[in-house]
């Protein structure tokens, strides 16, 4: 019993010293163990967080993937629509160009550079030129004839006047006149004129009053619408009835001025 008591006491002392030793050991290692525990805990927490992040990351990727697909498909649909639209517009433009081309060709050929119009214009011009030339020729001819007429009338009046002044050269039965030579086959035209001339002594009648006498001698005189008053020719017609003869105004005897 004493032995067991000593044993228990020594065990108790061993136990105490063991306890003290273990405590001191534990105290020394406390720091290290604390650090180690902290490290382990921190690593674990890091793992947890990493796992959480990677989880989040994956989910985020999924979301982004879906989103991008969605947007891309929307854009694609838009592009398709735009391309379709552009194709349609090109087609329309092409068709419009064709229409405009035809229209412009037609318009220019019909209204601006009309070949047939030009051709017919030039033909018409040609015909008009011919017409104008012919008409001008006729006009010239007409005018020339009128002028010739007037000339002839002037000549004839001059001759008649001359005959009037030479009335005394008329041939008589006794003596043939200057213009009625026996060697000629027929009397000269002056002779004819002399026979036709009626000599009038200057009277009180004013020279203008004789203008109503008509008549034109000579076979060659052309007939035309003008009347020529030759006061010296014997009248072949009676005086024109349209103009009444006024009685001569009593005036002094006038010198007939030729």
């Amino acid at each position: 019993d004493m032995a067991e008591l000593l044993k228990i006491k020594s065990e108790a002392e061993d136990f105490q010293s063991e306890y003290f030793y273990r405590n001191s050991q534990a105290e020394e290692k406390r720091q290290k163990e604390n650090q180690a525990a902290t490290q382990i805990q921190s690593w674990f927490r890091a793992c947890k967080v990493r796992a959480y992040f990677s989880h989040l990351h994956k989910k985020a990727v999924i979301i982004q993937k879906i989103w991008r697909g969605f947007t891309a498909r929307a854009r694609f649909r838009q592009m398709v629509k735009a391309a379709y639209f552009i194709m349609k517009m090109n087609f329309y433009e092409e068709m419009a160009v064709r229409i405009q081309r035809r229209w412009r060709g037609f318009f220019v050929r019909k209204y601006i550079h009309n070949f047939y119009a030009r051709k017919s214009y030039l033909e018409g011009l040609f015909r008009k030129n011919e017409l104008v030339r012919r008409e001008l020729d006729e006009l010239e001819e007409l005018q020339k004839r009128e002028r010739d007429c007037l000339e002839m009338v002037k000549e004839q009046t001059a001759k008649v006047y001359q005959a009037y002044r030479l009335h005394h050269l008329l041939s008589t039965k006794q003596c043939p006149g200057v213009f009625n030579s026996p060697f000629r086959s027929a009397p000269h035209e002056m002779e004819q004129l002399l026979r036709q001339v009626k000599y009038q002594a200057p009277t009180r009648l004013a020279p203008g009053g004789r203008a109503c006498l008509l008549g034109m001698p000579g076979p060659a005189a052309p007939s035309f619408s003008g009347t020529l008053g030759s006061p010296w020719i014997k009248t072949t017609q009676t005086r024109c009835s349209s103009r009444p003869i006024l009685p001569p105004i009593g005036s002094k005897k006038q010198q007939v001025r030729w």
Partner: protein
């Protein structure tokens, strides 16, 4: 009295005037003009007028002796014979030079003459209008002074008078006034002159028609609006008829009128072409000679210059053969130059036109004119320009062939250029070119390598097979 009458009668003959001048008759006549007896005054004025009419020193002597203010002063008061004689003196003085006319204007002559225009007597009006015409003829300033005195409405009234001489003088005065500037012409038109002038076109008197057409052409030459107003008076079909008038100056003035109208715009030319004016003008060209042809030739040139339609109209109316005749018959250089210019205007539009020119054998003629040493510079320049412009459009090869021989190089390059344009496409033309010796001539041309001429020659040579070209080169 006797003295004055003798002087007047003597002065009507030019030989006596020298003697009269030496006898110092001018100073003697001056106091006679202040004489009491009216007939002495008139005869003195008449004598003075005849003296001044003869030469310009005498007219200057009249001015120096201060007779003019006296005349002008008495113009207002005297009877009509004196007025006629005084107006005759003023006219005789004014006709010689602008300075003398200025002297007449300076002493108030214009206003006095305008007063005379309001008289009843047609002789006085005629003398006054004639004097105003001579004053206005010299330059624009004098015409302006005539217009400022209010002469134009009175002249237009004179146009309506029955006397032929008065109408003639009034028309010629209006023509002289309107020829200087557009404003003067506008003043004349504003008084309604065009309508009256247009009515007088159908008058049979030849001298009147001359003046009327001359007046219308002077009015229309200034601007498009004036020409349009002249056309609106519808003179044209009637004026074309006057182209067959026997008087040659009437015809010349009608063509001058047409030329002045045509040169402004294509529409005006179209009016004249449509009423058949072309045919009439070309016939006129055939009938007359010398200087009278010039306005007609220029008219054809102006018409053709506007557009190719009108040029084709000229060609259709047989204008080109007529111009060729003109070119060969006329000897004056300025007429030839005008013809060359017209031909150039006709031919330069399209190949059709150039062909028409070439078939009339005008290209060698133009070349000849260009090369001739005697031709004046103007003629040479114009024929060269015409030739070049026609050549640039000419594809009628038989017409071009004679031009390969003896031509200067600046013309030759155009000819060869035309060949090089046509030959690559037309096989018949190629055959013709070889057989007529053209290819041979072409090889003989020496050109600097690299020049345009050489390029054209190469282009032509490449149209033909090698053997032919080498055979001809060797020969």
């Amino acid at each position: 009295m006797q003295f004055v009458q003798t002087v007047a009668d003597l002065a009507s003959r030019p030989q006596n005037i020298e003697m009269l001048q030496n006898a110092g008759v001018m100073s003697m006549l001056r106091p006679l003009m202040l004489d009491v007896v009216p007939s002495i005054q008139q005869t003195a004025a008449l004598a003075l007028g005849r003296l001044a009419d003869h030469s310009d020193d005498l007219a200057e002597a009249v001015v120096k002796e201060d007779i003019l203010p006296q005349l002008v002063h008495s113009l207002a008061s005297q009877n009509r014979f004196y007025k006629k004689a005084a107006a005759f003196v003023l006219r005789a003085v004014a006709k010689h030079s602008p300075e003398l006319s200025q002297a007449v204007v300076a002493c108030g002559g214009v206003d006095a003459l305008v007063l005379c225009l309001e008289e009843f007597d047609p002789g006085v009006k005629e003398a006054a209008a004639w004097a105003l015409g001579f004053i206005a003829r010299h330059n624009a300033l004098l015409s302006q002074s005539v217009v400022d005195a209010g002469a134009v409405p009175l002249l237009v009234l004179c146009l309506l008078e029955p006397e032929m001489a008065l109408k003639r003088i009034a028309a010629s005065t209006l023509s002289d006034i309107s020829k200087h500037t557009p404003e003067l012409a506008q003043t004349v038109v504003d008084c309604g002159a065009i309508a009256h002038l247009a009515q007088m076109i159908l008058n049979p008197d030849a001298k009147l028609k001359r003046q009327v057409f001359s007046a219308l052409s002077q009015i229309s030459k200034h601007s498009v609006s004036l020409a349009e107003m002249v056309i609106e008076a519808e003179i044209f079909p009637a004026a074309v008829a006057c182209l067959r008038d026997p008087d040659e100056y009437v015809r010349k003035n009608v063509t001058t009128l047409m030329r002045e109208v045509v040169k402004h715009t294509p529409e005006l030319s179209q009016v004249i072409v449509n009423c058949g004016g072309m045919a009439a003008v070309i016939d006129y060209l055939g009938n007359c000679r010398g200087n009278l042809r010039l306005p007609a030739i220029m008219m054809l040139g102006y018409v053709a210059a506007h557009s190719e339609n009108l040029a084709m109209a000229v060609i259709l109316s047989k204008g080109v053969p007529q111009l060729a005749l003109c070119l060969s018959e006329e000897s004056e250089h300025h007429i030839k130059a005008a013809t060359a210019w017209s031909i150039g205007q006709i031919g330069h539009h399209t190949p059709e036109h150039a062909k028409a020119v070439a078939t009339a054998h005008l290209l060698p003629k133009l070349l000849e004119l260009y090369m001739d040493a005697n031709s004046s510079e103007d003629l040479q320049a114009k024929s060269k320009k015409a030739l070049k412009s026609v050549l640039q459009k000419c594809t009628y090869l038989p017409g071009l062939e004679p031009l390969l021989y003896d031509v200067p190089s600046n013309i030759l390059k155009h000819v060869v250029c035309q060949f090089s344009k046509v030959l690559p496409h037309d096989s018949k033309a190629r055959r013709l070119f070889v057989t007529s010796g053209g290819l041979k001539k072409l090889q003989e041309i020496e050109a600097e390598p690299g020049s345009l001429l050489q390029e054209h020659i190469n282009a032509i040579n490449s149209c033909f097979p090698e053997e032919i070209v080498s055979a001809l080169t060797i020969n």
